[in-house]
Symmetry: C2
Subunit: 502 residues, 2 copies
């Protein structure tokens, strides 16, 4: 067979694997949106069967042989070409996935489906004990997964590599070690200043109007509804079933207006990243994004760097006041801007402000590492959570539902994911500095409600490449340096310096 | 391996096939409920890949060998046992599916996904030409399918057998030949009488209230929401992803109150049949129902035999009047009952009354047969539809959207399905006569809003068996005779005799 034909064949085989993983993603989306309770047991079987088939198809000898045979073909192409990158990225994934057994994949699917139901129930009933055996099972599976990659520097490395290809636990620890004292110092300074007022954010806001407003705003920002939709879930997420179907979810609380508004912006950021990939990447391992951290950089850019910026609300605030006149009619733009940027130790990660957010992440990452290094038992996790929460944020969670049970990740087996959120903040700020250098009137454009130059820049520099580059490589290409906490710290100091008169 | 182990292995293999077919059903459900337009192309790939894998897994040598080896095991069991029936029914399906190529399965999935989108657009825009090439393709695939089963008595036989296992086109023709003159005569007699009034059904009814009312009524009838949900679609349908997750859809028109109300009852009837199967049948070919005709007997029993009966509204009408006082406050129960049973030639099958309904079916079946026998071209179908419509129902469809484009079936490749609707009417009436013999105070129970004895009888006699018996066999067991049009004609004559003073 000619290399061209082999390359086509590789694409076809990878296309079938993508059909299966997209289908599994839909089964998961449905489980979190519309599935009646009775469907849970079978959903586990369905996910297990499909993920096992996808895994077996991907690690097949046929794909291995094609990847081997296509090495010369790939080297003849520009290293940045679709052809070279598809072979390279697929080969790396192939080498990883061939270490994982099909049994592990199927057991993991069954376990996480059961764990998700148990977590939802445990959270609703504030009963960690109901979730505990499921988390123990998920942790056992995470250990088994790590062992597929022994020897390793750190048992956490193989998990981290799922979400941040090419990064090591030691890299992330070094970044966080540099960041942490600076964030802590900033929070200390802020705490010494008079607090800003945000009571108006907790009045009763009509839930349907909140929903509509979020959709209106992201529509103006360029969100493509032909290829998306938004639904309600317990925990917001973005899911994609291919280039043409990338869906977001949100949750709405009457007395917590930030939740739906910034949650919608956040998920829309994820959605735009996936939808911004070149269509040719669809149904290949290059579709999606470079890493979870890159993904979070996009979601948190929409949510915070833009969505909590002054120019953004110079544009949207008059409309917001029109929609909610009784709640916001007497709140000035300045007061609103300060209110949505209030810094305060709080319970819930997804609703934490930008200054304290990373502490929520460090806490989770440290607990995950302790669990993976067998220094902490799952049964002791709620206490360990509460202790560390007091230490970092000075408050004690009043219950497990708003504490250790708040996030969906561990139920989904996503141990190793949390660092991506903090890395995303850093990457976002790096891109943001570069964006301002390339588009000097960016704040002015945002003030006018013009998002096309900004979105165009992101598409060109980041989105269209999908997973062609590893995260550090992509960031280096775009910004000239690897992941660096300095721009984020500069950003926080500048923003909160103004708000809190530091 | 011991036969017991082999039987377990067969169940495991069939379970994986079921996981795939249930997943494909979810992909299809999602396409019709929530999928954004951009998802269509990939959805076709996903369905094609999954259906092809399901097909290949089912026709595998392993399953063939297990079925062969398990023949003695099956004969040692009671012929009506789960073990004997699972081997028997699976073997019949295996023998059929091994004739169908994997390519056909994949091509059919791709074609019907594209056809569904095209049909929806064609219908919305009243443009048959947009749908025509897709229907031609689906018909070509139907011909190819029939050829897998050559030689046959009639090219329509292999299609019919998909939906009514064991029945031949000649059987169905004989039943319809006996039925048709009697239905035509009844309609003639009715047309000679003064018409009843149903203008009140076409006032403006709040859509949300219609929706809620339908759900309230089926809840009282015993519908299990733990294992179901209802959503909106262009064309109502029922879909199941296993015993614990059987979903229905409906559509709501403000000025056509019957549509949502009786549509919900209809689909709930399908849903209750699937949910009423013994849980042990789940993830095997025995789950679901004996045939499409049996399924329609259940849906149309809920919709018509109960839902359009006088005792039913003796119970529910006061509540209906409370919900819609301005529309129904001055309409007596008698007038309402007559209105919902008005007999009148009309355009839309799913909204046709019980007396004219079967003519809609005969028309479709005859056109399908003409297409399959190459006596009619797809391009001539709209004219043929309109001519026959005039001939049978005395009216000319004003446009194709309300004519030849009204049903989803042909877009989904479901050629050969329509006879099941008419057979369902006949089977429903047969079961209904037997039900009244076994539960003499059934009308009194319904009048009191008690549905448990009725539902219990159906579960015991019909539902719990799933697909263990072929349709004619099951009906014979329950009623003592095979499919027989006489009870349906008796039912119609009695009901309409009273309403129209015949």
């Amino acid at each position: 067979m000619q290399p061209e034909q082999q390359f086509q064949q590789l694409k076809e085989r990878l296309g079938e694997v993508a059909d299966l993983t997209y289908s599994a993603a839909l089964l998961d989306w449905d489980q979190q949106t519309y599935m009646p309770p009775g469907g849970a047991a079978n959903r586990g079987h369905q996910l297990a069967t499909i993920q096992q088939i996808a895994h077996n198809k991907f690690v097949s000898e046929e794909i291995g042989q094609l990847l081997e045979d296509l090495q010369p073909y790939a080297s003849q192409h520009d290293p940045d070409s679709f052809e070279a990158r598809l072979v390279k990225v697929t080969r790396r994934r192939y080498e990883k996935e061939t270490r994982v057994t099909a049994e592990w994949v199927a057991e993991s699917a069954l376990a996480t489906t059961a764990a998700h139901e148990a977590w939802a129930k445990a959270r609703a009933e504030n009963n960690f004990a109901h979730f505990q055996p499921h988390l123990e099972r998920n942790l056992e599976l995470a250990h088994q997964y790590a062992e597929f990659f022994a020897p390793y520097q750190n048992a956490y490395d193989p998990l981290l590599d799922i979400f941040e290809p090419g990064m090591l636990t030691s890299d992330v620890k070094a970044i966080f070690a540099a960041l942490r004292p600076q964030q802590v110092e900033l929070i200390r300074q802020i705490a010494a200043q008079p607090q800003v007022e945000d009571g108006f954010m907790h009045l009763a806001y009509d839930e349907q109007k909140q929903w509509d407003l979020g959709e209106e705003i992201i529509t103006k920002m360029g969100f493509d509804w032909q290829r998306s939709r938004q639904d309600k879930t317990l925990h917001p997420f973005t899911s994609s079933f291919g280039w043409g179907d990338v869906r977001i979810t949100t949750r709405v609380y009457a007395k917590h207006m930030s939740s739906a508004l910034f949650g919608t912006l956040h998920e829309a950021g994820h959605g735009m990243y996936s939808m911004g990939g070149d269509a040719s990447l669809d149904r290949t391992p290059l579709f999606g994004g470079a890493s979870s951290g890159l993904h979070e950089s996009q979601s948190r850019m929409w949510e915070n760097l833009v969505g909590r910026s002054y120019p953004f609300w110079q544009h949207f605030y008059p409309h917001l006041q029109q929609v909610f006149p009784s709640q916001l009619g007497n709140v000035s733009l300045e007061a609103f801007y300060k209110g949505i940027n209030k810094v305060e130790a709080s319970l819930i990660r997804v609703e934490a402000d930008e200054a304290t957010y990373n502490l929520h992440i460090m806490l989770r990452m440290e607990l995950e590492m302790a669990l993976m290094e067998n220094q902490l038992k799952v049964s002791d996790l709620p206490d360990a959570w509460n202790e560390r929460f007091r230490e970092y944020l000075g408050i004690t969670p009043p219950n497990d539902s708003d504490g250790v049970l708040q996030d969906v990740h561990w139920s989904a087996g996503l141990i190793g994911y949390f660092p991506s959120y903090a890395l995303g903040n850093l990457i976002g700020a790096q891109l943001w500095e570069r964006l301002h250098a390339d588009i000097p009137d960016l704040p002015e454009q945002i003030r006018r409600g013009e998002f096309s130059a900004w979105l165009g820049w992101l598409r060109e520099k980041v989105h269209r490449h999908g997973a062609m580059f590893e995260p550090q490589e992509l960031i280096q290409r775009v910004t000239g340096t690897k992941i660096d906490p300095a721009p984020y710290v500069r950003y926080l100091r500048q923003k909160y310096g103004a708000i809190y008169n530091l």
